[in-house]
């Protein structure tokens, strides 16, 4: 064993009946037997099929667009261009929330009519009686382009005289952090370590391409059944389509994988426009290739670290510069950049920090949210930097980190005090221990072990003033209904709410039914993004269920003639704790309450901490509610003749605060870890002059069952999170440390590090050629 496992502090979590158990998720069986109806599975009477006509240029002026032949084709119900809907625009950088002013011209035309800025940009919409006719209509659209100079490298795009993607310039967003003094920080240093890291695109590659059906209902509302992470987009859709907000009704479906790729609006506006123009239901389903072209990617970054350290590894100064490629439109780039900026120094206590971050427009595919939201890029850079510091000082990587790891009560680079547990050494030593003894080298194959630690926020930015609502009600037969607008992406978003309500109301999980994801009929719970649903909607559900429980206990206390504190509810019965044979069935209790006019349901609103934006000059202030901490470890075999890397063992250890459903939490850790391994080693989106050259699952490879070993998932529960029962979030954090851990293991095997992912055999061989 390389490291001594750090003992955990004593934690006394109360024993719970439902929460924490690896119960069958409420959504599982429907999916297993094919009952679950996904967005692309719906059909409506008289339904048309919609298609999008897209740019075949990365940067060009549209000099002629003629859709008359397409319109004249029998079976075509309508063709819409940007000239038909000049006001259809998507505001993409949410003014007033970043503390930055909205950039001029940064909103996105739903359909480009004058200029195209990226390959695949939508230009026209078609609705036709059949898919074949819709495809035929696309081929009849005539377009002439006058190519404009494009810019495909963010560094080039920043130079004076570079083509400007959207005036006034190519700078989409900037953030900075100023803490302490660079001068004195570097003065105190015994050694200064400098490195530049390059981090690539990543494609979500969810198995379900974007899909939906829209129609106008009997109240004149445009109803959109769609696979989305955000039903609150109905407001943006209403503005783009030109109707009132209460005339857009989103019925979210089970999402066939999101990972951030269905966080921005996908096809909703196209569907709404086509349904509005034809007054008929319209269905749209992307092909895989179109999905590649149409949705955002994870941001490529160049990140430079300059770190001053003492001989014992203590960091005295950290100066970080980064540039991200936002592609042709900003979308969430300013926010992603903020995440990378604030997380850039890593989970380390550093008195002197300076970060300068810029997001730059290019004519490349646009970039936006992807699980981790800028955190994984930061983590790859800071953890490679820590390893290099250890190498240069001749110290062990864990020893260098131990000196610097954040502790509870310490401040982040923006001065936010961390109040929850920060089990970094605890998770690192456990993940490494899980690898066991290192396999010996053989032949040309070198073995290495490495790990990466991380911190990653859960919950949205606190100056967004995030809220979530949930409604919980007890029915007269003792069953429980939950209504909450949460989109379920498969991570157990809906199920965890059921387990929480079952716990609080003392019923078995089978008795709980949840209705979700309807912008008109379920209380709005906010987005399934930012690792926020368990934290936010879990707390809202806990509040609502507790309020119902209190009504029940009140009535039961009269019945038992006992104080409320003497009573409990479990297994569908209220009972006297000191004499559990005295019981009252929930059905009877519910009937008593109902006949006496007591409220058996409750709508609760949970508020995250509300703060002001960070200081625009120094970046000081609170950014998120809290952080999850953990580590990932890997053992790799590197063939020094072929450059091939094989992962032999992998383990992830995270403090998730409290597991609500243990199997689901493990699923997040393993599945997220696998996406991170793919990111580190194999996923390679090739983009040339703005054109994606790998727009299929046979060209852009994601991990199969054959590629990597099982990731051992080690769950720690500090109980210190802000979520229900002390839970933290794990959805995004699961991915963050995997790629840097593999990079560390490879560097450990080879003695040289490779500052760029994915670490392909070519990169390994190139690194070995270095003197």
């Amino acid at each position: 064993m390389k490291y001594q496992v750090k003992p955990l502090p004593q934690v006394n979590l109360p024993e719970l009946r439902t929460v924490g158990k690896p119960l069958r998720k409420v959504d599982a069986m429907g999916k297993a037997v094919g009952d679950t109806v996904y967005a692309g599975d719906y059909s409506m009477p008289r339904m048309l099929h919609g298609k999008v006509f897209r740019s075949k240029q990365s940067s060009a002026r549209i000099t002629r667009l003629d859709v008359s032949k397409a319109r004249a084709l029998p079976g075509v119900a309508c063709v819409i261009t940007g000239f038909d809907v000049p006001n259809a625009r998507l505001v993409s950088d949410m003014p007033g929330q970043t503390g930055q002013k909205q950039r001029a011209g940064s909103d996105v035309p739903v359909l480009a009519s004058e200029q195209v800025r990226f390959y695949g940009e939508p230009i026209a919409l078609v609705a036709a009686e059949t898919l074949e006719i819709a495809d035929k209509a696309l081929s009849l659209i005539e377009i002439d382009y006058e190519p404009l100079p494009g810019v495909y490298d963010p560094l080039e795009a920043m130079k004076p005289g570079a083509p400007v993607v959207t005036p006034p310039d190519n700078i989409v967003a900037r953030w900075k952090i100023r803490k302490g003094s660079m001068e004195s920080g570097f003065e105190q240093a015994d050694l200064i370590v400098e490195n530049t890291f390059r981090i690539p695109y990543q494609e979500h590659a969810y198995l379900e391409p974007e899909a939906g059906v829209a129609w106008i209902d009997e109240r004149g509302a445009i109803t959109i059944r769609v696979s989305t992470q955000v039903i609150e987009h109905f407001r943006t859709i209403a503005r783009a389509v030109g109707v009132r907000q209460n005339k857009i009704h989103i019925q979210g479906t089970m999402v066939g994988g999101g990972f951030g790729g269905k966080e921005d609006i996908t096809i909703e506006i196209y569907l709404a426009l086509l349904a509005k123009h034809t007054a008929r239901p319209v269905k749209m389903v992307y092909t895989r290739e179109e999905s590649f072209l149409a949705h955002a990617k994870r941001h490529p970054y160049v990140i430079k670290h300059r770190t001053g350290v003492k001989n014992n590894g203590q960091i005295t100064a950290s100066k970080i510069e980064m540039i991200s490629d936002s592609g042709a439109y900003p979308y969430l780039s300013p926010y992603v950049l903020l995440y990378t900026t604030v997380m850039a120094p890593g989970p380390y206590r550093i008195d002197n920090v300076q970060v300068d971050a810029i997001s730059v427009a290019t004519n490349n595919p646009y970039t936006s949210a992807f699980r981790g939201f800028g955190g994984p890029q930061a983590c790859f850079a800071y953890e490679q930097q820590m390893d290099d510091i250890a190498r240069q000082l001749g110290l062990d990587p864990l020893d260098v980190r131990k000196v610097n790891y954040l502790r509870t009560g310490d401040c982040t680079a923006t001065g936010q005090v961390i109040e929850s547990a920060t089990w970094l050494e605890e998770t690192a030593t456990r993940a490494m221990a899980a690898l066991g003894e290192q396999t010996p080298d053989y032949g040309s194959v070198k073995i290495g072990q490495g790990f990466a630690s991380y911190f990653q926020s859960y919950g949205r930015i606190t100056w967004m003033h995030d809220t979530s609502q949930a409604w919980v009600g007890l029915e007269l037969d003792g069953t429980v209904t939950i209504r909450a607008g949460v989109p379920d992406l498969g991570a157990g978003q809906a199920n965890s709410l059921c387990q929480i309500a079952a716990e609080v109301l003392g019923v078995p999980l089978e008795r709980v039914t949840i209705y979700t994801t309807d912008s008109a009929l379920t209380p709005l719970s906010g987005t399934s993004t930012a690792t926020r649903q368990l934290y936010m909607s879990g707390n809202a559900t806990l509040m609502a269920a507790t309020n119902v429980r209190n009504v029940l206990l009140n009535r039961a206390s009269k019945h038992f003639e006992e104080e409320i504190e003497a009573l409990d509810i479990a297994d569908g019965k209220a009972f006297n704790k000191s004499d559990p044979s005295q019981t009252l069935d929930l059905v009877d209790l519910a009937k008593m309450c109902a006949s006496e006019g007591m409220h058996l349901s409750n709508l609760a609103l949970f508020k995250a901490p509300f703060t002001d934006p960070i200081n625009p000059e120094t970046g000081q202030g609170q950014v998120w509610p809290d952080f999850t901490f953990g580590s990932f470890a890997a053992e790799v075999a590197v063939d020094t003749e072929t450059g091939e890397v094989t992962i032999l063992k992998a383990a992830a250890c995270h403090d998730i605060g409290r597991a609500i459903n243990r199997a689901a939490a493990e699923g997040q850790i393993i599945g997220g870890g696998m996406q991170g391994l793919g990111y580190g080693l194999m996923e390679n989106l090739i983009v040339k002059e703005g054109v994606i050259k790998t727009p299929s699952l046979s060209e852009y490879l994601i991990p199969t069952s054959m590629d990597y070993p099982n990731i051992q998932a080690i769950i720690l529960e500090s109980g210190t999170g802000l979520g229900p029962f002390g839970a933290k979030g794990i959805g995004e954090p699961a991915l963050t440390p995997a790629a840097p851990a593999v990079a560390s293991a490879i560097a450990n095997a080879l003695g040289v590090s490779i500052p760029e992912i994915p670490i392909t055999p070519e990169k390994v061989l190139a690194a070995l050629d270095l003197p």
């Binding site: 094919g34 895989r288 870890g673 199969t704």
Partner: protein, 160 residues
């Protein structure tokens, strides 16, 4: 292209349908309402569309519908219902092997194809059997566990 009459026996029901000869079995099945057969790529890359065609697991996007004329087709929904699930469906549900669930029907078909041949597979054999089924959510570990636990149950129950 003139539509052609074909007969499809799907999950025990018989359909007489007129289809364009260039239509894939995937599209034909989904148009007939067998939407548990999922479409992830239409190129044979993902396995989401897997079904049994005369007892052999195939990617239905790589088969033309007329090639299935008179064939017995079994989809994941044909294996069981939520009241009476197939042991694989139970095991997938219980092992945490289902996240978004989009890969699940195809996964279950591939897993059943394996268990039909090898009632006691090794983990490596399971990995091999599902290697054509992409799952972006789970990282596969719990799927492999589910197939193992279904194999045990089916063995104990003598059911297949």
């Amino acid at each position: 292209m003139k539509p052609q009459m074909i007969t499809l026996h799907i999950n025990g029901r018989t359909h007489y349908v007129a289809l364009n000869p260039n239509l894939t079995l995937l599209v034909a099945l989904r148009d007939l309402g067998y939407t548990d057969v999922k479409c992830g790529c239409e190129k044979g890359d993902c396995g989401a569309c897997a079904v049994f065609l005369n007892g052999v697991a195939v990617n239905s996007c790589l088969v033309l519908a007329w090639q299935a004329d008179e064939a017995e087709i079994l989809t994941a929904a044909g294996l069981g219902t939520s009241e009476h699930p197939h042991p694989l469906q139970t095991a997938f549900s219980d092992a945490g092997a289902i996240q978004c669930g989009y890969c699940t029907p195809g996964m279950i078909i591939s897993a059943k194809a394996l268990l039909d041949q090898k009632p006691h597979p090794t983990d490596a054999e399971i990995r091999d059997a599902i290697s054509g089924n992409l799952c972006r959510c789970t990282g596969y570990a719990q799927i492999i566990q589910a197939v193992q636990s279904a194999a045990e149950k089916m063995d104990a129950g003598g059911e297949g």
